[in-house]
């Protein structure tokens, strides 16, 4: 979706803000928000892709005004309500009055003593793709000019541009589908190199390039038209 989270290439956010001796978290509510979000994910309530998508759906003006961890808080609340895990009333009062869907009732809280091992585990993010990769290292590709209303990892600044396949990376779970309840779909994924001049024209610096991962579904051979 073309929402405010898709920031690459925009102007108007000011110089880099620096903070000396910055703590990992500034406030207790940030700690709790981070912990509750990650533990809910670990318990199986939702995927990281769904969590990102929920944050992307925060209205633009609110998104811009709210601090980083408030995005996490809003996103988690949105998912809990949408998935039928909690009602808005419950989240307001802090009192559980409603049941949960059957699939949620089967899930369990992550025990404190299990947390460290789960966090340190390299969880698989590869799935099955039923065809060989269509592109190989060195191929010139064009990104599609698409504007889905749903979640995508194809940023606007990359759409419709020509790049070169830098590496094949593997058959990764397909975030675009995971967020619309198709969690097992995977897609061949490549690192693609885009020259700065291709993306930004004369505004590009000398010898700049962007490397970004592209699902195969985002790509077409260079000769084809991006909006086909």
């Amino acid at each position: 979706m073309n929402s405010i989270h898709d920031l690459g290439g925009m102007t108007g956010f000011g110089p880099m803000p620096f903070e000396d001796n910055e703590p990992v978290f500034h406030e207790e509510w940030e700690r709790r928000t981070f912990g509750v979000n990650i533990l809910s994910l670990m318990a199986g309530l939702y995927t990281a892709d769904e969590s990102r998508h929920a944050m992307e759906r925060i209205p633009a003006l609110r998104w811009l005004k709210s601090p980083y961890y408030e995005h996490w808080l809003d996103g988690t609340a949105t998912l809990l309500v949408e998935l039928g895990i909690a009602t808005e009333e419950e989240l307001r009062t802090g009192k559980a009055t409603e049941g949960v869907p059957d699939w949620v009732a089967k899930l369990k809280a992550v025990p404190a003593e299990a947390v460290a091992a789960i966090v340190a585990t390299n969880h698989n993010k590869h799935g099955q793709v039923d065809h060989a990769p269509l592109f190989k290292k060195g191929d010139r590709v064009r990104t599609k000019n698409i504007h889905p209303k749903t979640h995508t990892r194809l940023p606007r600044y990359i759409r419709g541009h020509v790049g070169v396949i830098h590496e094949y990376r593997g058959p990764f779970f397909y975030a675009d589908k995971r967020t619309i309840h198709d969690p097992e779909v995977a897609c061949h994924t490549y690192s693609v190199r885009f020259d700065g001049k291709e993306l930004w024209g004369e505004s590009a610096g000398p010898k700049d390039a962007v490397y970004i991962e592209m699902y195969e579904t985002y790509l077409i051979p260079e000769q084809e038209q991006a909006d086909d």
Partner: protein, 210 residues
């Protein structure tokens, strides 16, 4: 204050909201109260740039390790005991005299947690995310880092499952240094690509003033 994403002035409403959410999830048996403290402790005290600095120092000291790191970064990083969330598929980008690498996540805030911990606030801001892909050299200047025009700047936008760690160039004047000594030169920003490692002189000055 030009940046709206700073976390220093939270609305007290947020504190109330997260407390209510936590209580509801606990009552429904989906969250264990102590688990939040445990996970926060891991991210505040165990994961952080000290881990990544060990990886870099090993790569500087041991050519066979360096090779393994460049071919299969996830496995090489696991050799030092670092793995897990947001580090499952690691790629190391090596700086050379010809190429300077810098990492970002323009769509959210993806970052290599096992080796660097949670990102600094600036990494998550709209300012960094919007600008570093279009004017990386200007952004790096604000970090005090000027990249010569004949050096290629590669910006790695971590928009998918891969996470990037920059391998900076080993500073001059460090021949014969141990891995432990070398690790002290490796800053967080040098592994994001927005800085360079300390020089031996900078480290000495830092240790003298500490």
């Amino acid at each position: 204050m030009t940046d709206e994403h700073h976390g220093t002035e939270p609305p007290s409403e947020a504190a109330l909201r997260i407390k209510a959410m936590e209580q509801v999830l606990i009552e429904k048996g989906l969250l264990e109260a102590g688990a939040v403290d445990t996970i926060v402790d891991i991210f505040e005290h165990q994961l952080g740039p000290k881990n990544g600095a060990r990886v870099v120092a090993r790569a500087w000291s041991d050519e066979a390790y360096h090779q393994r790191l460049m071919t299969d970064a996830t496995a090489a990083i696991l050799e030092l005991g670092y793995s897990g969330f947001d580090g499952e598929y690691m790629v190391v980008c090596e700086n050379t005299a010809e190429v300077h690498n810098v990492t970002v996540c323009t769509l959210c805030s993806c970052y290599p947690w096992p080796t660097l911990g949670l990102p600094p606030m600036w990494y998550k801001t709209a300012a960094y995310r919007s600008r570093v892909v279009i004017e990386p050299r200007e952004v790096l200047k604000e970090f005090g880092l000027t990249i010569a025009d004949d050096v290629e700047v590669r910006v790695w936008d971590s928009n998918n499952e891969l996470r990037y760690l920059v391998l900076p160039m080993r500073p001059a004047g460090t021949d014969g240094w141990s891995e432990e000594q070398l690790a002290k030169l490796v800053t967080r920003d040098s592994m994001i690509g927005t800085g360079l490692p300390l020089t031996p002189e900078q480290l000495a000055a830092q240790e003298a003033s500490a």
